[in-house]
Amino acid sequence: MHALIQAIILGILTGGVYALMASGQTLIFGIMKVVNLAQGALVVLGAYLTYTLFTTLGIDPFVSILITTPLLFLVGIGLQWALLRPLHGEDVAQLSLLVTFAIALAIEGALSFAYGATLTNVQPTYANYSWTVFGYQISLVRFVAFLLSIVMLGVLYFILQRTKFGRSVRATVQNPMSAQLLGVNANRVSALGFGLGAATAAAAGSVFGMLNSFNPGSHYDLISRLLTIVVLGGLGSIGGSVVAALIMGVASSLVSALASPIWSDFTFFIVLLLVLLLRPRGLFGAKTRGAL
């Protein structure tokens, strides 16, 4: 029983970080109808930036979020502007998907060039500190990471609900055509949206780097988890992806504790399979099949 609850606590804390990564990905899908296969690579990029800031300048990983987030926000805007915006023709969705894959490869290539393929992680002095609450271990880093993810999600929520940009985004998500007719600049919304998505990846990446060992190839592992989460939550639904991330966090942590860590990877695949069989649009996805 103790192990069970411990696993659930761990799962919720980890799930919070996944929620942050996945919210950016599902936001990008909501706006652009593009499955961003580079989201995992952007997280890893964020982790490496944090690593460099920490090892060379001694900047605390949590503090470095203030640097990495705006930086990747700009990178995201740049990527959208240079590589996704120019795509046109009938197969934009497919082309965009592949372009994001190419971006992931490019980031992986650049990171292996700069850092090599060895596993690293970001180890501040408090990395192994943990509290014991009612006999349960709560790691400081995980706990702060979770809180931070909640805060970041709150910021994202605020941006979407309370700003003019947010209104344009929500209009675009619901109906791109009428949003354009109402004067929403689709290109700008897409660019800012991609930027925001990358920014969430950066914030999550700083934390990810403290919780896990990583190398440039880690994005494959991340992206397959993220994809499962966004499909489970319903593509385009931020609330859905948060709930799905928590579910998956707890589920894989339970499997890991009760069976073996190897099988926790499979949890994701089995859940994905069940979702597709039982409810292909995900938990909270709008039904957008066809063009009716």
């Binding site: 372009v99 490869l105 490019a106 290539g109 292996s112 994809l227 499962t228 990877d265």
Partner: protein, 349 residues
């Protein structure tokens, strides 16, 4: 006129395969045959991917999983002995059919969704297969890899059987591609690609043709995986189920022209030598990956429809213009431009 075209097409096939058959016999540097093996391998893979991704418009990003499954199946069957070295090739159809059958439930589940989610499901399938390859130690040898017994081939012609096997698989893949496009399977797949909802509405057996394409495509890829495993002799999870192979298949089909017979072949004959060049120039994995990504991006941005469709489009316009009425052509391009405008493309969707 149609017959003339197909005679020309036949001639093209004969010349293409004739030349490739002759290469080892005429001799040439070792590196050339080695590179050709991989070029033909990718041409076969890409042509097989094209049966689903090109003809039906379902871009699988997980096809390398079937490649890996084929490779491991072969390695497991022939880890001890390969006899005279030639008999293992007879196992190819068995593996192909088995993997095709295995792929049916996978295709059925994943094709309940449309293109973007389909890509997600297939890519996840890829990672799962890789994880399985790493962890099913007793079967796959895990990270230590798995070896195939070396065949007793003569050193001077060691590469030949593998080369001809790959070439045969390419011929089969192209043959199937040709057959599909000339049968109602291809016609049905084209409606799925253009407008799946509408296809349902005119009674097309959508699920059936999608599954046929998925299964045949997967089975073919698995057979190529067998020959690859046999050739390289030692397989590791990260190479047998390498996302780069998936991307290679996709990219080559996109470059040459997806949905066409020759597009994937053309794409492979451009990209594999280029890949080799990058690998030679930039070393194994670092800048190489960057260069690869760059080529990838250039194709997507500047040649999104691929080489062959772009050329045939241009030829068609020129023919229309030459047919006299320049006005006709202008009208046509107007119609085509109009069909690209957002309003009518909404209609087309």
């Amino acid at each position: 006129m149609k017959r003339a075209i197909s005679r020309f097409g036949l001639l093209r096939v004969v010349i293409f395969f004739g030349l490739l058959i002759l290469v080892p016999i005429l001799g040439g540097p070792v590196w050339l045959l080695n590179m050709l093996i991989f070029t033909v391998m990718y041409a076969a893979l890409s042509s097989s991917w094209n049966l689903l991704g090109g003809l039906a418009g379902y871009p699988s990003l997980g096809h390398v999983a079937f490649f890996g499954i084929g490779a491991y199946a072969f390695a497991i069957m022939f880890q001890g002995s390969v006899g005279d070295g030639f008999s293992p090739f007879l196992a190819l159809p068995v593996v192909g059919v088995a993997v095709a059958l295995l792929s049916v439930p996978i295709g059925w589940v994943s094709m309940r969704t449309r293109a973007d989610v389909f890509a997600i499901v297939t890519i996840t399938f890829l990672f799962i297969t890789q994880t399985l390859a790493f962890n099913l130690n007793s079967l796959t040898g895990g990270a230590q890899g798995k070896s195939v017994a070396p065949p007793p081939f003569d050193v001077s012609t060691y590469d030949w059987p593998f080369y001809y096997a790959m070439l045969a698989l390419l011929a089969v893949a192209m043959g199937i591609s040709f057959y599909f496009s000339r049968s109602k399977i291809g016609l049905s797949l084209a409606t799925v690609r253009a407008d799946e909802d509408k296809a349902h509405g005119v009674g097309v057996r959508v699920t059936a043709v999608k599954l046929i394409a998925f299964a045949v495509s997967s089975g073919m890829v698995a057979m190529v995986g067998c020959v690859w495993a046999y050739y390289v002799g030692f397989i590791y999870p990260q190479f047998a189920v390498d996302p780069l192979i998936t991307i290679g298949m996709v990219l080559m089909a996109f470059l040459g022209g997806r949905g066409t017979l020759w597009g994937p072949v053309l794409g492979s004959f451009i990209l594999v030598p280029a890949q080799e060049f990058f690998a030679q120039t930039f070393g194994a994995s670092e800048l190489y990956l960057l260069a690869y990504a760059a080529v990838f991006l250039v194709i997507m941005l500047f040649l999104p429809r691929g080489i062959l469709p772009s050329i045939s489009d241009r030829l068609r316009r020129r023919r229309l213009a030459a047919e006299g009425d320049a006005r006709d052509a202008a009208q046509l391009s107007e119609v085509q431009d109009a069909s690209k405008s957002p309003v009518t493309s909404e209609v087309a969707r």
